[in-house]
């Protein structure tokens, strides 16, 4: 076992997590709450009412300068010139060979751009940007330590926040954001999330963050019969799996391209960027393996790295799996050979020496009924 000599980073909500009795884990170099009361309880609370997740470990990088957009266009797969002020776009950042360095959300502010990246990839990306900066006049500021970020997710969240915040959230479109002020405190509310529920993600300065969190729970209790509860990273993981959202290190990594991972929609085909030549070639050749959803028979969880078989042929590998609290069955995501990717295909997973039946199903496993917005 290797012991890390670098002390774990703490978010500004660390004391809150400890007071709430959270079980803490190392995640991407941060000490984060895995769960507070139980993974399934927190999962169901999110689907039925609403939960608050500390996601301050995620990187927040601030881009300014005359070439900020041109540089972001150079490193991101998505065509960011299409974003209007107040809009966010999901994008990949790829190596020259098309392998994914990270998946990020880029938001266009009036005078700057904000990139939210995965905690474990923040330093790698900062290095990558430096290496690829020649000829671009822009400044980058890592604001991760000076700001906090929480996700508030669930069916009750939007109405509750409309009551609580100075400006309405319900009129914000998905993947749009608004900076608001409360007394002297400024914060930005993004209508986005990683759970498959409606909800928001809020970024604010660390100095007001704890006060804001306490207010959210307290006033939430005063105005709602189903108040918000904190939820940890484990529930965040089972929620995102049901919604079939990729997680870096599982469905995405440096040896996977975004096309195979089913993220072609986030790859522009009319602008050059790092990796665009390789990705165009992958598109032209067609895919050898693709990401699919699997409904797994029995109670045992298919986990990352398990082998998938079609008869006596090895055809793929599991990337994520869990026992879905909402569906009451085991679900998994996996890369399989394209010929096995049709929904309804019967496959087998080697679950620790036992072959278990699994059927290819359409993703996502869980989808919110379309809202009016």
């Amino acid at each position: 076992m290797t012991e890390s000599t670098v002390p774990l980073l703490k978010t500004c909500f660390y004391d809150f997590h400890i007071r709430q009795g959270a079980k803490m884990v190392d995640f991407g170099g941060w000490s984060m709450p895995l769960s507070y009361r139980g993974i399934i309880a927190e999962h169901e609370q999110t689907r039925k009412a609403g939960s608050v997740f500390d996601v301050s470990h995620m990187g927040r990088l601030h881009f300014t300068g005359p070439d900020a957009l041109r540089f972001l266009q150079h490193i991101c797969t998505r065509d960011l010139s299409k974003a209007v002020v107040g809009q966010s776009l999901y994008s990949l950042i790829c190596k020259t060979d098309g392998g994914v360095l990270d998946d990020v959300i880029v938001s266009r502010f009036d005078k700057h751009w904000l990139m939210v990246c995965n905690a474990a990839n923040r330093l790698k990306l900062l290095d990558w940007f430096k290496t690829n900066s020649a000829g671009f006049n822009y400044q980058i500021k890592d604001e991760t330590m000076q700001t906090a970020m929480i996700a508030i997710q669930g069916p009750n969240v939007i109405a509750l926040l409309d009551n609580l915040l100075p400006d309405p959230v319900s009129t914000l479109k998905r993947y749009h954001f608004l900076t608001q002020s409360y007394l002297i405190a400024k914060f930005t509310v993004f209508r986005s999330g990683y759970t498959g529920e409606d909800g928001v993600e809020i970024i604010c300065g660390t100095t007001i963050a704890q006060m804001a969190l306490n207010m959210l729970f307290k006033q939430g209790r005063d105005i709602s019969s189903a108040p918000l509860q904190p939820a940890g990273l484990a529930a965040r993981d089972t929620l995102r799996m049901e919604a079939a959202m990729p997680l870096y290190g599982h469905e995405l990594h440096e040896n996977i391209d975004p096309i195979s991972a089913g993220l072609q929609w986030a790859v522009a085909d009319e602008k050059p960027f790092i990796g665009s030549v390789a990705l165009a070639e992958i598109r032209r050749r067609g895919l050898e393996t693709v990401l699919v959803g699997l409904a797994v028979d029995g109670p045992r969880i298919a986990r990352q790295g398990m082998t998938i078989w079609a008869g006596d042929k090895e055809v793929g590998t599991v990337t994520s799996g869990t026992s879905s609290p909402t569906l009451g069955k085991v679900i998994a995501m996996a890369f399989v050979q394209s010929v096995c990717a049709v929904p309804g295909t019967a496959l087998e997973i080697d679950l620790r020496g036992n072959r278990v039946n699994a059927t290819v199903v359409k993703l996502p496993f869980y989808k919110l009924a379309k809202a009016d917005t």
């Binding site: 079980k23 139980g38 993974i39 484990a234 109670p299 045992r300 969880i301 026992s323």
Partner: protein, 125 residues
């Protein structure tokens, strides 16, 4: 919460309680809390013989899979069938309703930790 005083404890987090020639075996609350929500318990057939220190099953949670070890040699006399329907009984009540197996044995358990020793090792108050 202290672990029950009338049980003995292994280093691999099983508890045991002797009743005549039957040893009731489960896993501790400390271990269950580490595992998180239990989703499946794989228990042996009644009648299977197990060796001291041998595995008699597996416990699986959202987070992890862990093997279950018999503290002494014996023969499986009963398994907790309620766990098939509701594995979360192990989370709710690990020291009673969430028991795992009953082992028929002539061996007298010795060399195991008392509740006070187990709680001290794992900082349980």
């Amino acid at each position: 919460m202290p672990s029950p005083a009338d049980y003995l404890y292994t280093q691999t987090h099983e508890w045991m309680k002797k009743e005549g020639d039957i040893l009731i075996i489960g896993i501790t609350r400390f271990a269950v809390d580490e595992l998180s929500d239990v989703t499946f318990v794989d228990l042996p057939e009644v009648g299977r013989k197990v060796a001291a220190g041998g595995t008699f099953g597996e416990i699986e949670s959202v987070k992890a899979i862990s093997e279950l070890y018999a503290p002494v040699a014996g023969e499986i006399a009963a398994v907790n069938d309620a766990l098939k329907k509701d594995p979360s009984l192990v989370n709710q009540d690990p020291f009673s309703k969430g028991w795992l197996v009953k082992l028929k044995t002539t061996a007298e358990p010795h060399g195991f930790m008392t509740a006070a020793q187990y709680d001290q090792v794992h900082n349980i108050a």
